[in-house]
């Protein structure tokens, strides 16, 4: 159908090929219907750029982030140790992931446990590919569109990555609109710290609605996300918002690039 060219690390090794990078798909990217589209969009770009990448497939397991943030350090470290064993068994040096939570955990929390890798969030990796001239983007479908960017906490505040995703939006010739609360003051979508997997506590409203309202006030036609969980939360927030002005669309930056290139 989509003609995606995806190999697992073990397949590559069997064929005597050493991939230049591992694509860590993450649980959302593997199982969540919406996030799977992001995974595919990113793979399309990688395929187009002829990147020799591989995935772990059945050997990949949860990074442990939600367990750690829920307070279960045991489960986190078990997951981390097992993942590190797998990663090290393939002598993996660099990793790219479309999930800021996996990105943060593998980049910052795995090294002490024996897992030292160069870790990229896909927004950084796409920038790198552009700089190296391995992919190019023309405005395409999004030329002149008003696009805003929702900073994922685990990419922005947690790791100081603010410019990489914004550069990509500028690359597709869109008009980048900043939300009132952006960059280091970006407002959480409500999913982090394992909140994604539970009902929120009693309150006036959902965090995702608070963010969705801000997005709707911004007059952006499209909100760009860079995290599968933000994507889910903000879509929910936009849907639950009672205003019938429900035409703000949400795309991951990988989808924006893939669509701009008509992949």
């Amino acid at each position: 159908m989509d003609n995606l060219n995806v190999k697992t690390f073990s397949e590559c090794i069997e064929q005597g090929v050493i991939p230049e990078i591992l694509f860590w798909v993450g649980c959302a990217g593997s199982f969540d219907e919406r996030a799977k589209k992001i995974t595919k969009a990113f793979v399309k770009i990688l395929n187009k750029a002829n990147i020799k990448f591989a995935v772990l497939g059945k050997e990949e397991s949860c990074s442990g982030d939600p367990a750690k943030r829920a307070g279960n350090e045991f489960l986190f470290q078990m997951q981390a140790m097992n993942n590190i064993e797998t990663l090290n068994s393939y002598s993996i040096k660099s990793i790219v992931t479309t999930c800021p939570h996996c990105f943060n955990t593998i980049k910052n929390e795995y090294p002490e446990l024996g897992g030292k890798y160069t870790v990229y969030h896909h927004s950084q990796f796409l920038n790198k590919l552009m700089k190296e001239g391995r992919i190019s983007v023309e405005g395409g479908n999004f030329k002149g569109k008003k696009i805003t960017f929702h900073d994922p906490c685990y990419l922005g505040r947690a790791n100081g990555v603010y410019e990489a995703p914004r550069n990509l939006i500028k690359k597709i010739d869109a008009e980048l609109i900043e939300l009132k609360r952006s960059r280091s003051k970006g407002l959480c979508c409500g999913a982090g710290g394992a909140q994604m997997f539970k009902e929120s506590e009693q309150g006036r409203k959902e965090i995702s609605s608070e963010r969705a309202e801000e997005i709707e006030e911004s007059e952006a036609e499209i909100v760009a996300a860079a995290c599968p969980f933000c994507n889910t939360m903000i879509s929910d927030g936009l849907k639950s918002d009672k205003k019938e002005k429900d035409n703000t669309k949400i795309y991951d930056i990988a989808e924006l690039i893939a669509n701009a290139n008509d992949l």
Binding site: V25, F31, G71, N159
Partner: protein, 429 residues
Amino acid sequence: MSYIPNIIFLILLIGSIGLFVSNLLKIRRNINLGKGETLEVNNSGKRFKNMMRVAFGQGKMISRPVAGILHFIVYISFIIINIELVEIIIDGIFGTHRVFLPMGKLYGILIGSFEILALLVIVSVSIFWVRRNVLKIKRFLENKMMGWPKLDANLILYFEIILMFLFLFMNAADAPFQEMEIGNPISGMIYNNLLVDIDNLHVLERIFWWSHIIGIFIFMNYLFYSKHLHIFLAFPNTYYAKMEEKGKLNNMKSVLNEVKLMLGTQDNDSGLNESSENIVFGASDVTDLSWLQLLNAYTCTECGRCTEACPANMTGKKLSPRKIMMDTRDRIEEVGRNIDKNGSFIPDNKKLLGDYISNEELWACTSCNACVQECPIDIDPLSIIMDLRRYLVMENSSAPIQLNNMMNNIENNGAPWPYSQMDRLNWKN
């Protein structure tokens, strides 16, 4: 007999410094009740730079220009005007009067600039008072801020205003100083409008002089009871602050030892010196927290930027990062008083977790780091929230049921949802 004022001054000076130091040592003792966690980054150069930027340079205050600029005025004035304390102390001990006056023109420039700064402080602090008491600024109105915290905040403002007025009036009532016409840009105006007989002026001058220095001694020792300790503690707090990426949550060493045992990769030399029976996973009380977290609590000046930026709080949940810090300090002080009274800590059937901070607050956190980002002096409320959560989960097994489901899924099939690990690549098709 003419030495009586000198002796009284010396007694007050030594007494107030002594009390101040002994209280400071008490704070140090309380902070050291925390765990002796080692710092993960030993780059003292980097730490020093952070302290200079954030504490000394007020680097994070300016993100809110109004409060930031007003605070900067008060801060810089505090540092500069305190130079005058040197003269006051020398005068007090030796019975001299304006011992640096022979400096002449330079003295005038110094005192003159102190006076201008004093006036600026009075203006700034008055605006602070209006912001706290007249304007309805949300971050000052939280429940936890009622009662003592509100009085404390106002008392600090009153102290500062009164001390600045006393400084100006002390200069204004000093007729010989006024007649010299140097360094009296503000007090000169007061002097010209004083309705006091010139002969009685020196009595008034003495009253203002003594009130000013005694006010300073009282204020110095009031700090111990107030949220105002940040004027000192902001420095060590920013020096010892976390240097790694905000997103990094520490890997618990105690857990690592257990995990290594389970996986059969235990090194022979690690973890054996600690008996695993005494290890508490996570924190239920202040003594389970690290010394740095307790230093954070003493350093907090309750400004509420953290709570204002907290997504859970702004959508009406109970969580307030500032309350986490205030509760932590309230509890460590309670433990400290218990030790003062009994010699060593006698269990009081109370804990930080449960008696001060509820599960509901803890489970509302999204770990978004907005509170950490906002704190102008690098306090980390998130780390305390996480350590309390760790206790709830690893010691109490009392996570919300949905989180238990999530964790069961991770344990059984390597994903937070009940999908088989074997299906991980199905998205391809």
